[in-house]
């Protein structure tokens, strides 16, 4: 066993590690320990129809998933679910596009401007440009955006890539043409203090980043306005005729267990996740502190309603900066660490986004390489 682990380390120490994507494999160990309680068994004759609930506007939403979503938000206290439509999607990626589509199709004039405050989630750019829609137009950074006419601001809080708490930055309170999509992928207690129960018009969540089940491709939107929800459902109907039922019933089961563990002293997933993230961030900050080369954002502490105490933030991505005039993504690539270029996020070459949710051994290799980069830099000087 020891031999095997050593071999694994040797092989890892040579290989490229990919921290570009936020593949959340860090939580696998927790779910392994939870064991059979999350196991789903699906027979050959189950889940065959397109339809999940013909009486629901979102006819492809499995009722057990809708229930699990509501119960989890109630238990965590991070979002209001009452008087809202739940729309399920193939990840929040599909839902974000559905929401942009819905708001644009209801706007008075088109194309509708789409903006997000830099640094922003780089995928927003691709999502709003790849089909070259005539309905909306990516207008980039929301800071300084002053174009007239209808617009959509994408607000991610905590923000991807830099982990900051965000609100809208395009301030046009009396402008009926301004709409906001709140992406709350990371508004969960292991990443950030839950300071309020969010109750915005359109709120997006994703299974991937809560529990680490990225392969299931499940996200959901909580939507206040009926017409917007309806248009989102229409989008998903044409885009993929609904959402995998296997993924939905598995998500429902896991979210129910997640909710149950919220009360547990020994198995609380958020406690586990929080400790793991805190530990990783402390290690990373340690390496960065030792270096004269790198920088990381600082996050204020806040009272977390879920944990009932004052806590820091431990984002799913590190927004790593450098004090040198250098192309950081290339520097890291030379050390076989793949990261996302700051430029893709509307920022600069001196920043990269690095996933904090990799497997433990990959994370440790990353720390090692980062520490060594500092040494090499020192020699370079």
């Amino acid at each position: 066993m020891v031999k095997l682990e050593n071999m694994k380390n040797i092989s890892l120490s040579d290989s490229v590690i990919n921290l570009d994507h936020g593949d959340p494999t860090a939580y696998e160990e927790y779910w392994r320990k939870i064991g059979d309680r999350c196991t789903v068994t699906i027979r050959g004759c189950d889940l065959m129809s397109y339809f999940s609930d013909v009486n629901n506007m979102c006819w492809f939403l499995e009722p057990t998933l809708a229930e699990a979503i509501k119960e989890l938000h109630d238990a965590v206290g991070n979002a209001a679910t009452e008087d809202r439509y739940i729309v399920v999607g193939t990840g929040s990626t599909q839902l974000c596009q559905a929401a942009v589509h819905a708001l644009s199709s209801l706007a008075g004039t088109q194309p509708v401007s789409v903006v997000a405050a830099a640094p922003y989630y780089s995928t927003y750019v691709e999502e709003t440009t790849y089909v070259r829609s005539g309905m909306y137009k990516w207008e980039g950074d929301a800071w300084g955006f002053d174009k007239k006419g209808p617009y959509i601001e994408l607000v991610t809080s905590p923000n991807n890539p830099d982990g900051t708490i965000r609100e809208t930055v395009v301030n046009r309170p009396d402008d009926d043409e301004g709409k906001v999509i709140h992406d709350f992928a990371y508004y969960w207690p292991h990443y950030t203090p839950i300071t309020r129960r969010q109750d915005h018009d359109i709120m997006l969540f994703t299974f991937s980043k809560i529990t680490g089940h990225a392969g299931s491709r499940i996200g959901w939107a909580l939507v206040k306005d009926k017409e917007v929800a309806k248009k989102m459902v229409e989008y998903i109907t044409v885009n993929s005729i609904g959402v995998s039922k296997e993924s939905q019933i598995r998500t429902a089961k896991i979210l129910k267990v997640l909710k149950e563990t919220c009360k547990s002293e020994t198995e609380n997933f958020f406690e586990y996740g929080h400790e793991m993230m805190k530990n990783r961030w402390e290690k990373l900050r340690g390496v960065v502190k030792e270096s004269d080369v790198f920088s990381l954002p600082k996050y204020p502490e806040a009272y977390c309603n879920f944990f009932g105490k004052t806590l820091g933030s431990y984002p799913a991505f590190a927004w790593l900066g450098t004090k040198e005039e250098t192309d950081l993504v290339n520097e890291l690539r030379r050390r076989k660490v793949m990261s996302r270029a700051g430029e893709r996020c509307g920022s600069d070459k001196k920043h990269v986004r690095v996933s904090m949710l990799s497997h433990e051994d990959v994370f440790n290799v990353f720390l090692e390489r980062l520490a060594n980069m500092k040494l090499i830099k020192s020699i370079d000087l």
Copy 2:
């Protein structure tokens, strides 16, 4: 039990029956009988990563599914899989859009015209118009299409809605700008004789219509050209960051059992499906024959390489016509039968598309109502 069944019939006899969508619940009974062999069990710690195979261009394709797809096509003999890329999608709906996107993005000029010979699958219209892309433009009926420049012809064979065997109708053999997407959703032995092993550039298949597992949202494309496959993968990456893994591994398991039953004398799924469809078509043709009001297409017999004998076609949809000058979709709606309007398929008011894949009791209610419509019509005259 008898009482319960009667009650069910009474309730059905009053209710609206939906044969607009092709919800393929007819096969549920078969899969119930197959029992545990198709059961999948997924633990909480399984399938967590975004990635299925980092060495495959289609990095989100589960290797077991790729294998099952190849084995099934080999066993059935309906399509060539060698020297092709397999791209998995959230149903063939997502794949069709991915293919149109890929071909358009590789075209010399844009927008690329998209056409299909009427009557065509009505969803093609929605798929190619809803995002108002600047890359391609739905140009409607392929018969008589003569616009210059790049174009994509969608060929569905057997055709949805009318069950005919189709080839391209835009005949420009020397035109490099003409591309074809072959939708072979229904090219399986229970619907139509397998007369040749198809080997076109882009071929789409869907799990839904083979086995009836529509809720899984799994489709696949067999693609010859590497660049096209790559662009399709890029589309799906931005559209939904891959495809549900739960659905993929379940599809793999069921396709493997399906392949195994191909050799069975007692459990052959295609034999079962063929008998069921033949039986339904005979009943429907019986009702139509008794009526002076309705018409159905006739299909030639052909030698089926899979069954090793000459057989007829028994499409998944009935393309029901009327000899009266009437709006057939409304006439049926008045009798509480929902169907798809011929006009939506590029045809006329005198035709509708009716699903042949409903539950047995729903199908029988449909036949009853159709038979009664004839009577009512006779009285009307």
